[in-house]
Every structure is written in structure tokens, then in C-alpha cells.
Symmetry: C2
Subunit: 216 residues, 2 copies
């Protein structure tokens, strides 16, 4: 049986209920930990489910953050140092990753509170998460306020990538499933994945064919 | 063994290889079909992997499109009618969904070319995909050019949602895994999911506990 929800039905929902519903609409979301540090080098870690691809050349990644709900530390830190890291959440750390969303007092390190380790790299003024298998560092390019609801679009350029050597395939594809990267649905549901397949570049003349993991 | 890629390594990659690599970085991506129609009512369908949540109240969804690579029809149609639909790609239509990315001649309907059916609804000047289980209609709110690389951020407000009655849980969460919604990695890999669990709202005092599907 099909349920239909109108604009009015949505507007009349209770706040938390609507938040869970609307957060489920976009589909599966990426699960990343944002690593930052303040001017004194104190580390901060926050989970984000709104990281998305903007462009490959230059390599640009976007993320949406709410000044009111996300630890303000993340925003002020990445603006202070100009750097932040994104670290894939995997199936061994998903519960610790979720716990970083608790409102710890400013100055408290979510790394130590949830039991994850910082990993520092030369020339990057932000900590990586040691337990994450695929991680990359970004230089802040812009913070744009979306006037329509006051959320912030943060855009960064990737300048360092660290991952297991054999997870990159010959054609550049990274097998993130083999790294046990998880996906999020709604506000609080975490999921492993099982590959249906890779498909060839679509052309009008014929249907796509299945590729192997190496893109062949 | 860990591989590290520097800014120079990334810049020196071959174009398609870099595109596959950078598109793999953000993590798992949502898989949606954008349904639109032109002023004459001719339907158009295109797969997008860049749909993301912007806010719940009002219910705002964003998507990034590249004027140069995405069928221009999608953009001109949603600007002409003011409406578009987003339809979850599921594990029964993932190959047809991928095929919509082929560059069909303008005016050709991807629906008929790939074998998906339009589903019309009163007051919505855009077609739904009949074979999609979770679908919603949006009223265009803004199209913003990201000057940093010329891509477009399209923001719409949700005004109609259609889904199986039992997929919405008591607390508003939609069990999109039960609808066989798929996730995308890179440019061409499709994935089913298996739930690890739902977690309670994180609080500093204690670790999150596992919730059941109903959020209890």
C-alpha cells in the first residue's frame, strides 16, 4: 500500500520525526569523520554525512554543516588553520564515529573520548584518524552561507590522499567496499555494502556491460 | 602497504583516471533518477549521484550538476516547469538507471529508451519513475553557480512524497534498505546494503545503544 505525503503533511509533522523522514529521502549518505585542530594544536573530530563530490580537476569536495548543530569547533578550526581531513568511517569504528556527535565541552578531544587515535602528517595542520583506511586532507577554498536556510557549504581542495595500495584499481577506481567503508541512512542507521557490479560507460547504441573490479 | 598521493601526483594523473579516483573519495553516494519534462510535456530522465540533504524544515534537497556532462535537458526542463522528481534507484532497475547517462539526442525520452515507465501525479509538472519505490517531487528554489569550477548547485523544496506505507517507521525513519535502494561508489559501481544497526542519539555521558528498526 502506497503512502502519499503532501506539503501540509510534512509541515504538520513533529520536529524530530520530520528530521528523520527528510534525512532519509536523499538515499544512502557517505560516512566521514572530519578531523581538525585549533591554533594550539588541540584535535577535534566530528562525524558528517553530507560530504559530496564537486569536481575532479581541481579535486574539490563539498560538505554541508549546520552552525547550530555541528560542534562549532570544526568550523572555527578549519577556518583558523585552513586545513581539515576527511576519514572514511568503516565497519570496525562506526559506533565510535557516531559517538563523536555527542556535545562534548569545547576543548575536549573527541578522539580520546571515543577511543580513536590521531595520526599526524607533515604539512597538514589537521589530524587524520589512524583507524580509518581511506583518508585525505583538504585545503579550505570557501565557506558559503546558503541563505535559504542558513546552513554552510564548505568547499575544500584535496592535496593529500592516504589509502591501502591494493585498494586503487588500474583505472583509478578505489574499491571502498574492500575497505569496509559504511553508508548512512536517515540520522542514525549504518550499513555495510555488497557490490552489484561495475558498469561500462553508457552509450546510446547499446546497454552497458558489466565490468570486473579493475574496470575491464 | 599504504599509498600516499600528493597534490602533484593527483595533478599528473590522466583525466579519466583522476575522475574515477576523486569520485571515489567522498564515500558511498546516493543513487537517484531525476525526472523532468519540457514545456510540451516530453519526459526526460537522468541518473544523479550528487543528491544530498540540506535541511528538514523547510524540507530542502540539493544536487550538483555539471552543465557540460549532464543532459542539458534536465536543467532547462526543471527551470521551465519549476518542478522535478527524485526517484530512488533500486536493485531491480540499477542497470536501466545507469543507461540514462548515455547521451541520447535531445527530445529522445530516456524512459522509453531504457524501459522505465513514467507515472504522472496531479499538480506535479514532472514525471515520477513507476518502478521506483521511494520518490518525491520538488519545487525549484534556486540554481546557484559555484564559481570555483562552474558546476551548479540546484536546491529544491520537497512538496510530495510517495512510498510504501510500511517503509516509514513510527519515529519518521524510512527503511530505504527494505526498498532495495542502492548506493554508488566512484563513477560506475553499484551496491546493495546490509544494516549494521541504528544508534541512539549520542550523549557525552554514555556510549550509544543499538536501537531496533522502529528506533526503540
Amino acid at each position: 500500500m502506497i503512502k502519499q505525503l503532501s506539503r501540509e503533511d510534512i509541515a504538520n509533522m513533529q520536529e524530530r520525526e520530520r528530521a528523520r523522514l527528510i534525512n532519509s529521502l536523499s538515499g544512502f549518505k557517505s560516512a566521514n569523520l572530519v578531523g581538525t585542530q585549533d591554533a594550539q594544536g588541540n584535535p577535534n573530530l566530528a562525524i558528517v554525512s553530507s560530504v559530496f563530490h564537486i569536481g575532479a580537476n581541481p579535486p574539490l569536495i563539498g560538505m554541508i554543516i549546520r552552525p547550530d548543530t555541528v560542534p562549532r569547533d570544526t568550523l572555527s578550526n578549519l577556518q583558523a588553520t585552513g586545513h581539515y581531513t576527511l576519514n572514511h568511517v568503516n565497519s570496525t569504528i562506526w559506533q565510535q564515529a557516531h559517538q563523536t556527535s555527542a556535545r562534548y565541552a569545547p576543548g575536549v578531544s573527541e578522539f580520546s573520548e571515543v577511543g580513536l587515535d590521531t595520526q599526524l602528517a607533515d604539512g597538514i595542520t589537521a589530524p587524520y584518524v589512524a583507524q580509518s583506511q581511506l583518508k585525505f586532507a583538504l585545503a579550505l577554498r570557501e565557506v558559503q552561507k546558503l541563505e535559504i536556510n542558513g546552513t554552510l557549504l564548505v568547499i575544500g581542495e584535496v592535496f593529500d590522499i592516504q589509502l591501502p595500495h591494493d585498494s586503487i584499481k588500474a583505472d583509478g577506481y578505489i574499491d571502498i567496499e574492500s575497505l569496509h567503508t559504511v553508508a548512512i541512512s536517515g540520522l542514525d542507521s549504518y550499513h555495510e555494502t555488497r557490490r552489484l557490479g561495475r558498469l561500462s560507460y553508457a552509450k546510446p547504441e547499446h546497454l552497458p556491460r558489466q565490468l570486473n573490479l579493475n574496470g575491464e
